[in-house]
Amino acid sequence: MATVTPALDAHGHADDHSHGHAHQQSFISKYVFSQDHKIIGIQFLCTTLLMLMVGGALALAVRWQLAFPWQNMPVIGQLFGLFQTEGGQISPEFYTMLFTMHASVMIFLVIIPILAGAFGNFLIPLQIGCDDMAFPILNMLSYWFMWPAMVCFACSFFWAGGTAGPGNGWTSYPLLSDLPQAAPGSGAPQTFWLFGLTLIGVSSMMGSVNYLTTIINMRAPGMTLFRMPLTIWSMFITAILQAFALPVLTAAGFMLVFDRLGTIFPTTIHSVFFIPANIIVNNAEPTVGGGQPLLWQHLFWFYSHPAVYIMLLPAMGMVSDMLSCMCRKPVFGYKPMVYSLAAIAGLGFIVWGHHMFTSGMNPALGMTFMTSTMMIALPSAIKTFNWIGTMWGGNLKFNAVLLNCAGFVAMFIVGGLSGIFMAAVPVDIYFHDTYFIVAHFHYVLFGSTLFGVFGAIQFWFPKMFGREMNDTVQKWHFVLSFIGFNGTFFPMHLLGIAGMPRRYADPYLHGYLSHLLDMNRFMTVSAIIMGLAQFLLLGNFFYSMFRGKKVGRNPWNANGLEWTAPSPPGHGNFDIAPIVYRGPYEYSSPESDALGQDYILQTVPHVAGIKSVAHH
């Protein structure tokens, strides 16, 4: 009994001796090159939040061009002093670089690292009740490998004075990305970009190996697989996805690099994996080779489609945790949630072809990919229904965490449903590479994942810093982001239906699109609102880090193991090695009633004794 009291203490005061091990560490080894999963997680979090703002700025520049084509660009136009004699207008090739880098930054430097890197690192050991990751040094490296990657991206973007940079889209299809003369920035910048990509791959690969090992081997006694929080399940499955999909991308990346080096060392390295013969680009000599550009698309999407789920599953898991806590109610259908996660991951490997319906791929393949893609909507649907089921009849706490989770569900529904249009090949033939696609994946990646992340940041903030974030500001942030987001991206569906192709610097050249200018202006304004709103998050984040209200171990009165540790947990996390007696979602259960509260920590042993004590 006595042993569990500190863990029970709802407004618990962090005990000093829990920090015992931390004393002899120097600042560097403690906060910079730290091997402590918590510090690494927080490092990931801060880095990715910073990158989020960078990617956002790039996005706003793109929006600017679409709303005010060929007008001088504020902020960024002035920052780089671009094209003075052109009146500071964005030049078309710079536009291609803007959207390319926006996607690259957001996908590889924000969403993937913030989920797996930040929350995966911080939560896995805490939630499965071990003192650290299986391979702390590997863990540290996985963070520090992000930096060379960022340097590479920076090089590729600022090569030749800020207006170079890969302009081939984040998918960088050959030949555009393969022949240096094919496009501005297809030279050195594209190579840098590919190296950056590879380094990111290395970083996530280190991470996923670590997560897998830790989750399999280091769970606390009693933490059976089906007692794991869904966060852990999602991280586990994500790690599997990464471990299997990444090598393909890395291989493809190197094939492309070799093709490209061919133009530099024609005699030594001269592969032509993706280069067909007799292609004349930019007045250069006709190409020699018998390569096939479609090969890249297959390899790339074999990674990048699973990658979409890498960017989504962890958010799903975390949202399940937060929802059940904020509704004071068990997750509705825990096992179906787990199975559907697994199903999504499994199917995720056999649907990549739906990115290539118009690519001239064999129609028979198209049919199979269509069916598998349709099927992947099923587990997603199940999860959605379960989330709603979780909220149903719950004792809802209307704070920003709940709102962000509800936002997540709402946006995920839209993203999921719009996906069905694209899964159907004939309809996709029309929608392929229009703004409908853009709308779809922004609803999934921003609408779902980021709103989930916004919630998660606030939810686990107390565990990270021992202080809480300001809820009012988070609500403001939520409502502004939500309105701004929908204002920006919902109209994109309509643009797509109107047939507006992606990646057009000036769609209004074309008669059938010219009337869409006003709508684009509206979207840009919404985007600016959304962008400014993010300053609230940052402000609140850093303000609360130092000035937020101090809280105890379990401010949310949640069940998970992490809440039995001090806030913030010292080196080694738990002051008593936790023993797990039940699943993480036993809110408002009879047992908890017995304790006279609506939650019961996983570590509380269900001995009859407790009940009897309660009865006296």
Partner: protein, 307 residues
């Protein structure tokens, strides 16, 4: 039973964050009118420029040129006071004559024609006592009281033989017909690179003796310009188009004569293709006395010559 307590915020924090968030909206709303006025943007494609019509020239300026010409000719008619300027150009310092461009039978393009004879390097042609041939001596502007230019009726024949232009250097009055001939059984193309006149780039057929290619210079050139044949990179010639009679080219003895100069001070340009930057002298001051011949030697320091 202990209720779950959710965070309550200190007021200070609360209202400051409210201000900021209001600001987020305000800022973005500011941007709307700011950028709504698309046509008013500085630069960019949207601006409709305003157009003002200009005649460009003030009346005085328009008449000016004709007027001066008249005066020039009038005075020339009236004033008889004129003298002659003659002399020779000599290269001073250590001089090494240039080797021929192409030796007899050398391995060059169209050797059967171009290497049939030795092709001398005419960039520097020296006469006895290091006298320099092909030096241009001229006034850059018609002097007050000078004679008008009389344009010879017969055309100036510009020949080429054995992949070499003949003559290598020439002074061509503005308005005189230039006929390009060829004595070679192969094609040449005559490519002029003047500064003020339009450039000619025309094929000269094999053994073209009647000069199908012909042209005239409409404007005086500040300096002699280069004429090349793109088929035979080594071929080049120099010509000076000029609109007054006061110009001379040194002969094989390096000597020259410019007659009928109005009395008074004159500043001659002394120009040679080998000289660094072209000019041997930018302003060679000469005092011309009426009825006399002013003889002078112009020194051409060897170190000014650049290969």
């Amino acid at each position: 039973m202990n209720q779950v307590t959710f965070p309550t915020t200190e007021d200070g924090l609360k209202d400051f964050m409210k201000i900021v968030s209001l600001f987020a909206i305000l800022g973005s709303i500011l941007i709307l009118p700011g950028c709504g006025r698309v046509p008013d943007f500085g630069g960019g494609a949207g601006v409709v420029p305003d157009v003002t019509f200009v005649t460009g020239d003030s009346e005085a300026a328009v008449e000016a040129p004709t007027e001066t010409n008249e005066t020039a000719s009038n005075e020339a008619a009236s004033s008889g006071a004129a003298g002659t300027f003659s002399g020779k150009v000599v290269m001073t310092g250590a001089v090494t004559p240039l080797p021929p461009l192409i030796g007899k039978g050398a391995e060059v393009k169209d050797k059967e024609v171009c290497a049939a004879h030795e092709v001398a390097n005419e960039k520097l042609v020296l006469g006895p006592g290091n006298a320099v041939q092909n030096v241009f001596i001229y006034l850059n502007k018609a002097p007050k009281g000078g004679k008008p230019l009389e344009v010879p009726a017969e055309p100036f024949l510009f020949d080429q033989k054995n992949c070499q232009f003949h003559p290598h250097c020439a002074i061509v009055p503005v308005g005189q017909l230039v006929k390009v001939l060829s004595g070679d059984p192969i094609a040449h193309n005559t490519h002029t690179n003047p500064n003020k006149n339009p450039s000619v780039n025309s094929l000269v057929g094999a053994n073209d003796r009647e000069g199908k290619v012909s042209f005239t210079y409409k404007k005086a050139e500040p300096t002699p310009f280069n004429i090349t044949c793109d088929f035979h990179g080594w071929m080049n010639a120099r010509q000076l188009a000029i609109d007054h009679p006061y110009a001379a080219l040194t002969d094989e003895n390096g000597s020259f004569t410019i007659p009928d100069l109005p009395a008074g001070k004159h500043a001659f340009i002394v120009w040679h293709e080998g000289a660094d930057g072209g000019y041997v002298e930018r302003k060679f001051e000469v005092e011309i006395k009426s009825g006399e011949t002013t003889k002078m030697q112009i020194d051409y320091p060897a170190d000014r010559f650049k290969l």
